[in-house]
Subunit: 254 residues, 2 copies
């Protein structure tokens, strides 16, 4: 297709909007059927990936054993940080747990509410007011990545402590940025060169004409997690690794 | 996710590569299972779409009636322009037709060859040498879009005439750029403002770390097709519209 392209024709950026929530909602509105919503994630090195959004509606029996184990540890009043469409909150409610979902996407909040979850629009580190206090702060679905990076993590951990009861636990699922092939190794090296943590992803979700803003999502190693927790008001009580994947669950005590 | 982003951190462009062929080949290598390959198409206004690549392996009974009708018109020695993974060529071979596939993607050519198609790497308007002459020039799967635009179409039509036997037919499937909602209307208006045809898409296919170059794919109205054909060595013999969609088949005689 060696057409004569006008090199002066500039490509435009997509509009900022609730791209992720729209994909999630499209999937939910189609009965969470496989591939009824396609999540397109763009990384700032030009990498793009497309995923079946129905994974956000997977039920406990479909999760990894580790994720299910971590999820079962949640007790008392739970803050579900980045609750999405209620993947973890809905089955918590079925067990009689008290849950508040926190989620920046208006469409995802709409879906969570339709499913019976008390969901609030908001995100870390600037929590909305009036959340109250919690016994468990939950960051599942790799949402330990919402710590953002070594520079942002202290503020996020402090914000989450501000809504934690004394003795509360923070339970988060993380992913070790192990070398997953050439493309990732190159990205990790680029991150280190520009003064970022190795697995600190800068990504955005794109859907049709809209995109989320770029945001940082930190795939931290267990050692990196231990280091930022050591500088916080939290104590690292346990870190359980998945024998079959780079995933782990970190349990922090306030 | 109101993290403190460094505004000086620039996003990179993906690497130029055979993104489309890789998606197609991934799908083929997975038995053409639905969603085993996801085709991510980016338009130069920031619009992005994700499609199931298994549509490129759909069999004649899955095509629209119009596409099947056009496909059945192909006679003699056929040049399948933009043959992809052999969607149209493989069933032509099964009918005993003689087909040469033309395709710029090395991976798609590999897949076509595995399926028994004599496929050649190349594209319009600069055809590879030694193709010989053809009785039918076929542009299916909306590949009338490879005319590129009003400025490029004369060169493409001339190139295709250079491999046409006297009396040969060019059979192409096109798509009328009817208003399909706000996002497209805005794109059409933007195209007209910058001196392009209304439905002249500038797109690229992205896969993981790679992208195709940007290329022009022209969704022309039947009137626009008639106008460029009138200026060429071809004669417009018939234009059959799909009653159920914006699709049409144009039949040209050399």
């Amino acid at each position: 297709m060696d057409t004569d392209l006008d090199p002066n024709l500039d490509a435009r950026q997509p509009h900022i909007g609730d791209a992720w929530g729209r994909v999630l909602a499209r999937c939910w509105d189609a009965g969470a059927a496989p591939w009824s919503g396609v999540e397109v994630i763009e990384r700032d090195d030009g990498m793009i990936e497309a995923h079946d959004a129905s994974r956000y509606f997977a039920e406990p029996q479909d999760w990894s054993e580790l994720e299910r184990w971590g999820w079962e540890q949640a007790a008392g009043r739970i803050l579900d940080v980045g609750c999405g469409g209620g993947r973890h909150a809905v089955p918590w409610l079925a067990l009689g747990r008290e849950v508040v979902g926190l989620e920046p996407s208006p469409e995802a909040v709409r879906v969570s509410r339709e499913r019976g979850v008390e969901a609030v629009i908001g995100s870390v580190p600037t929590l909305p007011e009036g959340l109250g206090v919690f016994d468990t702060i939950a960051l599942f679905g790799n949402n330990l990545g919402l710590l953002g990076g070594p520079a942002q993590a202290p503020e996020v951990l402090a914000a989450l402590a501000s809504v934690a009861r004394p003795g509360a636990r923070l339970i988060g699922k993380g992913m070790d940025p192990v070398e997953g092939g050439g493309a990732h190794a190159e990205y990790h090296a680029w991150n280190l060169r520009r003064g970022r943590a190795r697995g600190q992803l800068r990504i955005r979700v794109r859907d049709r004409a809209t995109t989320t803003p770029w945001f940082d999502y930190w795939l931290a190693s267990p050692d990196e997690i231990a280091a930022v927790v050591a500088e916080s008001v939290w104590t690292l009580e346990a870190l359980e690794r998945d024998p079959a994947s780079p995933g782990y669950i970190a349990c922090l005590r306030y």
